[in-house]
Symmetry: C5
Subunit: 88 residues, 5 copies
Amino acid sequence: MLIGKVAGSVVSTRKSENLIGNKFMIVHVLEPMQNGAKQLIAVDKIGAGIGEYVLVAQGSAARVGSGLENAPVDAAIVGIIDDGTGLE
Amino acid sequence: MLIGKVAGSVVSTRKSENLIGNKFMIVHVLEPMQNGAKQLIAVDKIGAGIGEYVLVAQGSAARVGSGLENAPVDAAIVGIIDDGTGLE
Amino acid sequence: MLIGKVAGSVVSTRKSENLIGNKFMIVHVLEPMQNGAKQLIAVDKIGAGIGEYVLVAQGSAARVGSGLENAPVDAAIVGIIDDGTGLE
Amino acid sequence: MLIGKVAGSVVSTRKSENLIGNKFMIVHVLEPMQNGAKQLIAVDKIGAGIGEYVLVAQGSAARVGSGLENAPVDAAIVGIIDDGTGLE
Amino acid sequence: MLIGKVAGSVVSTRKSENLIGNKFMIVHVLEPMQNGAKQLIAVDKIGAGIGEYVLVAQGSAARVGSGLENAPVDAAIVGIIDDGTGLE
């Protein structure tokens, strides 16, 4: 997993049926945890707020354990970090 | 997921049987969301037009929820962003 | 998916039983579609020739829809691009 | 897999239900094994200590064989290297 | 898949139960096939020797067709290249 900071969200009205009801958050990945991209879009089932540090799971893991088995989702916020001090 | 801009399409007549009927879009990935490649090829089941900003799912997620479970597809357009202003 | 140009092949006599009968092509990935590597090895079930531009699926998608569900294959040529003009 | 050094851990109280009971370790990936990120967060089921060199599996492999099939986990510590001398 | 050269091995005594009996080889990835990392750790079921050029499958493919379906393995040596001349 990686840790990032929630920076905002994007809206998509025309989308896959299996994505309806999901929020798409823009996550800024912490520099040392960037495996390429500085930002990614992750679905949020935890209720993370802007500015919070979050744990993001990618790949098939993003669908597992979030009730998203049938959704075309490859990144999900799966936890909120209690204290991000010193991470950045 | 990542966000990109649809730039065009490519045609493949000789292809895997399970790909028949799909459109292959060239997507220019937004710079901060590039996890390596500047461009990728994604299947489109949403009907995105050239110039539109789209949400792309990669990996096994691209097959899930798009009726493509049995197709050799690793990237799919799964949503169209309502307003791409400020993303680029 | 990504697009690459078939550059040659490699031979492996001692290999996983589930790989027997497959051809291993060296694919040069188009520069803007490189998600890291300039080259990769892909199995070819379509019959691509050297110099042809091909569509490559990676990850679990490479096994799906190619009759390779049980083979240790993470990249497959799944289509031949009709016209590669302007792609490179 | 890759080898990294355990550098610490992070705490997440608000998290996916399927993650409860797991420890999230910060792993510093050995430079030649970095496939992008210098650091990643991995679940630990082996009991690795800070400073130890560990084997990390990523992707769906992280869930397999760790009793985490239903957890949104994409990286796991799956072994502790006996002797990390010369690796770094 | 990618091609690399077997450079050595690492030993892990404390490891996931499902990894018992496996050899962990250090593979130096050929420069043009590096998708990030210069080195990776791959399980070897073929019996590759140090200095040999090998075909490595990554992701879920590494578990398939190697009798490793339940092991936390994300990279496996699946073939030995007959002749690596000119590859490097």
